[in-house]
């Protein structure tokens, strides 16, 4: 019984960090924009970490799941807005559609890519976002390259006031809830059979296979879970916060890269890593944009190389090693 409670101790620093963020955002004027951005990065990192962190596979097309999630919400709102009396229910249908669509895409991609390893996996996934974007634009699906704009529909369904408070405040709260959910799932996976199987797989896939672990099954579980959370983040952060969707924006590979940087900075495969990474990345990006506009990537690129070469474990990874055996070890994983 005691073991069951200590299992969830690492959520304490995690929830404390998010609570602190909320308090700062609510009470210091002008800070909400930064806080919203930090929440977005933490959520994206937390979602991506479930796959990248736990399996060690790099999915360069990750943003495609966020993109189809955005389309899920956009399609629900544009196609159902004429039905009277749906109200807030339309948002829930949107989330359901986002989950369904990102699951379907991840199953399709996973069916091909997860048979492959290492470099081949990365090559197979690097084109997923571009491929999907060109399919939408080329075949003129969902209004093609013109995208979907649904501010008017959102206003009409929810009323102008509710819609605007959704865009400026509640969407961010929903992203935060998604981030916390993703953290719960990560911790649950880590402490269950799935986590142990994935650790074995990450260390030595062949050995894991020989030991009788069904590696494919666990890879697929992690992949789909991660994709679903990405879809939810897209549906909220992109579709609800800014009610329009254009294919080149939601399939932009730079979001994948940001997610990778965040996970790596914090420590791949740790629970707290994405939060630490998201905070460090978000805060530095925000202030670099103010003080040195246009130079963020020029600074981040060499920083990533340095981290990979000198600190491959990330902040939480190093911290974890430091506190090993002490009383703090229970809180940091």
């Amino acid at each position: 019984m005691k073991n069951k409670i200590t299992k969830y101790y690492p959520l304490i620093p995690l929830l404390a960090a998010y609570l602190l963020l909320l308090l700062i955002g609510k009470n210091i004027s002008g800070m909400w924009q930064l806080v919203a951005m930090l929440i977005f990065y933490c959520a994206m990192g937390q979602a991506f970490n479930i796959f990248l962190g736990m399996t060690g596979y790099v999915d360069f097309g990750y943003v495609a799941f966020m993109g189809v999630g955005t389309y899920g919400m956009a399609l629900a709102i544009t196609h159902l807005s004429h039905i009277k009396g749906l109200g807030i229910l339309i948002i829930i249908i949107g989330f359901a559609l986002a989950i369904v669509m990102s699951t379907l895409l991840s199953m399709a991609v996973g069916a091909v890519a997860l048979r492959l390893r290492g470099a081949y996996f990365a090559i197979a996934t690097i084109g997923v976002n571009e491929g999907f974007r060109f399919l939408i634009e080329g075949a003129r699906i969902w209004n093609g390259s013109e995208g979907l704009i649904f501010t008017a529909q959102l206003n009409q369904i929810l009323g102008r006031e509710t819609a605007s408070s959704l865009m400026t405040f509640w969407a961010d709260i929903i992203v935060l809830i998604i981030a916390v959910l993703a953290a719960f799932v990560t911790l649950y996976y880590m402490k269950s059979k799935i986590g142990y199987a994935l650790t074995a797989l990450r260390e030595d896939e062949d050995a894991a296979k020989v030991m009788g672990i069904n590696v494919t099954k666990y890879k697929i579980i992690a992949f789909i879970t991660s994709a679903c959370f990405a879809g939810l983040v897209g549906a909220t952060s992109w579709a609800l916060k800014t009610p329009y969707v254009f294919p080149p924006e939601v399939f932009e590979i730079h979001y994948t890269i940001e997610a990778i940087i965040i996970v790596l900075l914090g420590g791949a495969g740790t629970l707290l890593g994405p939060v630490v990474g998201g905070l460090i990345y978000g805060i530095s990006k925000y202030y670099l944009a103010i003080f040195m506009p246009g130079f963020q990537l020029l600074i981040f690129a060499p920083v990533i190389i340095i981290i990979i070469v000198l600190f491959p474990e990330g902040v939480v990874g190093m911290l974890k090693r430091r506190v090993k055996g002490s009383a703090l070890a229970k809180f940091i994983i």
């Binding site: 634009e137 690129a301 190389i305 070469v309």
Partner: protein, 295 residues
């Protein structure tokens, strides 16, 4: 009429394909020897394009002569990056090399943007046109095609007729065995890596002859994806496979564009790029060793 157009486009595709193939040889060489995927591949092509632009617009140097200059710059970049970063990551998990090469690509893009700005640029090299009946070729494209074939032959000779080339081949076969035989494996890695980067930067020069006004710091992204498709067509680890993969890809790209353009209500350019992604997945699914390899 349509057949004539198709024939013309296919010939154009073959010429472009030769350059695509040459632009992918560096990627395949690096993967073949070091087992590293250079995810920043397109950025090196972009560097080559800017070398051409700079030499032509400021010094008036012929783009053909820019090829050796770009090759030397690429070799230099390759050596620097190998000894500062790649050397430490050879034994690390794939994640590390993938991210390091990707970040290097971003770094190069941002540096070039800082120096040249991010607008589209171009140069105007007038060398005339040639009419072959079904299509009209600018001479520059033919020069690029011939240059690519020549470089491919030179690489082949280097691999098979020189001591350094044999050393690299022995490392590909069995790096431990090569070490026992007294071959400097680290040196072979460094040489192959910088040779691969040199070839890629040089290919950027030849590619500008197809897009004389499309030079931009972010132009490389599209080429990275194309290069992966081509490399996978050719079996990923063989530079010659990549060259022939390029020819096949050029034919597919131009042929499918002609056919998609006949369909109503679609954007043929975007669909062509979608098709290349589908081909990539299909080959990886059916025959990851490449359709051109015998294995």
């Amino acid at each position: 009429m349509i057949l004539e157009q198709l024939a013309g486009n296919l010939i154009q595709g073959l010429v472009l394909g030769a350059v695509y193939g040459m632009a992918t040889m560096g990627l395949s060489l690096i993967f073949g020897v070091l087992k590293v995927v250079n995810v920043g591949h397109g950025a090196f092509i972009m560097v080559g394009a800017f070398v051409t632009l700079w030499l032509f617009n400021t010094l008036g140097i012929n783009p053909i002569l820019a090829v050796p200059v770009a090759f030397a710059i690429g070799m230099g970049l390759g050596f620097i990056f190998y000894y500062t970063t790649m050397q430490r990551l050879i034994k690390a998990p794939e994640l590390a090399t993938l991210l390091a090469t990707f970040s290097l690509g971003i770094l190069l893009e941002e540096l070039i943007k800082l120096i040249f700005g991010s607008e589209f640029r171009g140069y105007n090299w007038v060398v005339g046109k040639i009419n072959i009946g079904v299509t009209v070729f600018p001479m520059a494209k033919l020069y690029a095609c011939i240059g690519s074939a020549l470089i491919a032959v030179l690489l082949y000779l280097w691999f098979n007729k020189t001591r350094a080339g044999s050393a690299v081949r022995s490392v590909v076969e069995d790096s431990e065995g090569a070490r026992v035989c007294g071959i400097n494996v680290g040196g072979a890695y460094a040489l192959s890596f910088s040779l691969g980067i040199g070839l890629t930067v040089a290919s950027g020069v030849l590619l500008t002859m197809f897009i004389p006004v499309g030079i931009n710091p972010y132009m490389g992204g599209g080429y990275t994806l194309k290069a992966f498709v081509i490399a996978v067509l050719g079996g990923l680890s063989s530079p010659y496979g990549a060259f022939f993969g390029g020819l096949v890809f050029g034919l597919i790209e131009n042929g499918s564009y002609t056919i998609f353009a006949l369909l109503p209500g679609v954007e043929p350019f975007a669909l062509t790029r979608f098709l290349s992604f589908v081909i990539l997945l299909a080959i990886l699914l059916i025959k990851p060793t490449g359709i051109l390899s015998r294995k």
